[in-house]
């Protein structure tokens, strides 16, 4: 794919993700969603760059704000809508919701809420592939600045380094872990410096700039694929929303909002594409309309689907049915 095609492809996923997120926010405000809604606003450039840099045979463990990357990796809009609305026809069947979605057997891992916990799971898939003599695949795991403080992050990055696994670990340093600013999260100057301690290559990138995100993520994925071991990418950006839609984010420093970090990556990318004459405003408007219709149709379809039925549910947490506990309260 040429640079132009890659940028346009990534931009379309960014746009689709933004519109999808806007729809989830609207549904949340209308009381149509059970539980929280977590938007990716401000992180689309980084996330889309990851999604378009991976092959379908790679492994991807996205985090909360990876709507764009999920779509670019191949997640149908319908999967996202069904999971948010709890449809039994979705991949999580109403058993898990919102950003906790995936299709593990397609290399698309569904996150648990414990931050940093997916990294070693990606390691495991890569480790197994090596045992099975499958080469040339890469695993990408996404985290935020907050997750770099967890033991799981340390253990998993160290494990990947020791085993020289083709892991690309992407940190979206979006300045806040919920409400906690980075000054309470880490004391080093740049998170990318942590890589030195693990013997891992690292990159710092402006997460508001799609062009550089595509370049840096693409290069890191290529290096991992070539057998150069784990790669750590730290992208600086600002979360342009609350942690979730329940959070007004009043704690965000206004100076950050008006700094270059506070730029809207979608607008930056759009302006760049127009400046390059790689597309025009009419085409973008056309995409916008097409995506909005696609989203409306998906939401309409899912809202007509039946809700999960507790009486038809198979209340069994293990697959070995003969070993299920028979002692329950209602028996």
């Amino acid at each position: 794919m040429s640079t132009r095609e890659l940028q346009l492809s990534a931009f379309r996923f960014m746009l689709l993700a933004r519109l999808l997120d806007d729809k989830f926010a609207a549904l949340y405000r209308a009381g149509k969603i059970h539980g929280g809604v977590f938007l990716a606003r401000g992180q689309e450039a980084l996330s889309a760059s990851i999604g378009v840099s991976l092959k379908k045979t790679d492994v991807f463990a996205p985090l909360i704000r990876d709507t764009a990357g999920r779509l670019a990796f191949g997640e149908p809009v319908l999967d996202a809508v069904r999971t948010y609305l709890g449809s039994p026809l979705g991949p999580m069947r109403g058993r898990d919701g919102n950003v906790h979605r995936g299709r593990p057997q397609e290399g698309y891992l569904p996150m648990i809420s414990h931050l940093g916990a997916m990294i070693s799971v990606v390691n495991g898939v890569l480790f197994a592939r090596r045992l099975k003599k499958i080469s040339g695949t890469v695993g990408a795991a996404c985290i935020g600045d907050g997750a770099t403080s967890t033991g799981a992050f340390h253990e998993a990055l160290n494990q990947a380094a020791v085993e020289k696994l083709p892991l690309v670990l992407i940190v979206a340093d979006n300045q806040y872990a919920y409400s906690t600013p980075t000054s309470f999260q880490f004391a080093c100057e740049n998170l990318a410096d942590k890589a030195i301690g693990y013997g891992v290559e690292s990159y710092s990138v402006d997460g508001t700039d799609l062009s550089v995100c595509l370049k840096v993520v693409g290069d890191a994925v290529a290096k991992a694929r070539a057998g150069d071991g784990p790669q750590l990418i730290v992208a600086k950006l600002l979360r342009l929303c609350g942690h979730g839609e329940h959070d007004d984010a009043s704690y965000v420093d206004p100076q950050l909002k008006s700094s270059p970090l506070g730029r809207d990556c979608l607008k930056v990318a759009e302006e760049f594409l127009l400046r390059q004459n790689w597309t025009d405003a009419a085409t973008i408007a056309e995409w916008r309309g097409k995506f909005a219709r696609e989203i409306e149709e998906a939401v309409g379809q899912v809202q007509r689907e039946p809700a999960p039925d507790p009486f038809a549910e198979n209340w069994l947490a293990i697959s070995s049915e003969h070993l299920s506990e028979t002692h329950t309260n209602h028996e």
Binding site: P91, M92, R93, R95, D96, H100, G102, R103, P104, Q105, L109, P110, I112, S113, H114, A117, M118, I119, S120, V121, V122, N123, G124, V125, L126, F127, A128, R129, L131, K132, G151, A152, E155, A156, N158, Q159, V162, L316, A317, I318, S319, S320, H322, L323, S324, E325, T326, H327
Partner: protein
């Protein structure tokens, strides 16, 4: 042949590695060194590239196993001591135990926990933590008490499509011996009547089975016939076998090496009390370790955990009510 419990663990793993190319073992010091307890002695040599040393990272060890299971493998994780599995607790209970429920993709991993007290083990090398794992939906928790069960249940655990917490008792490692490995065995999920009797049922598992058997021998000359149920698996729990035994004896004593608050012994008593109240001739009783960390000195340790003498005393008291 004279096979110990630890030999059975090693042989079961060798068998699994030989029979199934999807099996690999990952843990600390388990490669060339053969493991802290030698449960993987020579296996790295016999099965090159499939018995692999991990860094001291229990969380990442289990996370890796889950990823490998998603990719179709059947990993066995050796925790050096059950006590250290708490560092990997999150991956076990939140990742492995929820995967099938959330995604319909099974998670066939076996986590081996060398557990339970030995003299001098102290607070962090002696714990019995089967209860916490049994509490979480999505896990199977096994507690073999014999050489034969250690072998057959580990083989069955690796073949199962679900995450198994395999609690192997360190006190039994070299203490128990068998003539040969079994070719047939009771399946997982079935308890075993380890001794028949008509006066009182002792329900127990793992190392406490042997304390209970000794207590029953001590009580026999006094005229008491004690029936002993070896649970084998604590999850699933074979309530039917327990209930049938209580129906025969009318008296129930549950013995566990774990701490008393909640747990396996409490669960059995709750089930028998609610479903078999009419079968009981006396209030059901239980005997557990004391509610403190496990002590280091043998004098303290033998007083902390139930011993044959303590089991016999508790049984005598219950027999006289």
């Amino acid at each position: 042949m004279n096979l110990t419990y630890i030999d059975a663990i090693r042989e079961a793993q060798a068998h699994a590695l030989r029979d199934d190319p999807r099996v690999f073992i990952y843990g600390q010091d388990i490669g060339a060194f053969g493991g802290a307890f030698k449960a993987t002695k020579n296996l790295a040599k016999e099965f090159p590239g499939r018995v692999l040393d991990s860094p001291i990272s229990e969380d990442a060890m289990v996370g890796l196993a889950v990823g490998a299971a998603i990719e179709g493998m059947r990993p066995i994780i050796e925790m050096q001591f059950a006590d250290f599995s708490t560092v990997g607790f999150n991956q076990i209970v939140n990742q492995a135990a929820t995967l099938f429920w959330r995604t319909n993709v099974p998670c066939p991993i076996t986590v081996r926990l060398p557990f339970g007290g030995t003299s001098g083990g102290g607070p962090f090398h002696s714990q019995c933590i089967e209860t916490i794992y049994a509490h979480y939906p999505g896990l199977i928790v096994l507690t073999p008490a014999t050489v034969e069960d250690a072998y057959s249940m580990l083989l069955e655990a690796v073949a199962l499509d679900d995450p198994v917490i395999f609690c192997e008792h360190k006190f039994l490692y070299r203490h128990l011996k068998a003539e040969k490995l079994p070719s047939e065995a009771l399946p997982i999920g079935k308890a075993r009547i380890a001794r028949e009797g008509r006066d009182l049922t002792i329900v127990t598992y793992s190392a406490m089975l042997h304390e209970a058997l000794e207590a029953a021998t001590e009580l026999a000359p006094e005229g008491w016939e004690i029936e002993i149920v070896d649970l084998r698996s604590v999850k699933p729990l074979d309530t039917d076998t327990v209930m049938a035994s209580v129906a025969r004896t009318g008296k129930l004593l549950c013995v566990g090496e774990a701490w008393p608050w909640g747990g396996v012994t409490a669960e059995i008593i709750a089930r028998v009390a609610s479903e078999g109240y009419g079968l009981l001739d006396a209030p059901p009783q239980r005997l557990n370790a004391k509610d403190t960390p496990v002590p280091y000195h043998p004098n303290l340790w033998t007083a902390h955990r139930p011993t044959a003498r303590a089991v016999a005393a508790a049984a005598r008291k219950l027999l006289r009510t």
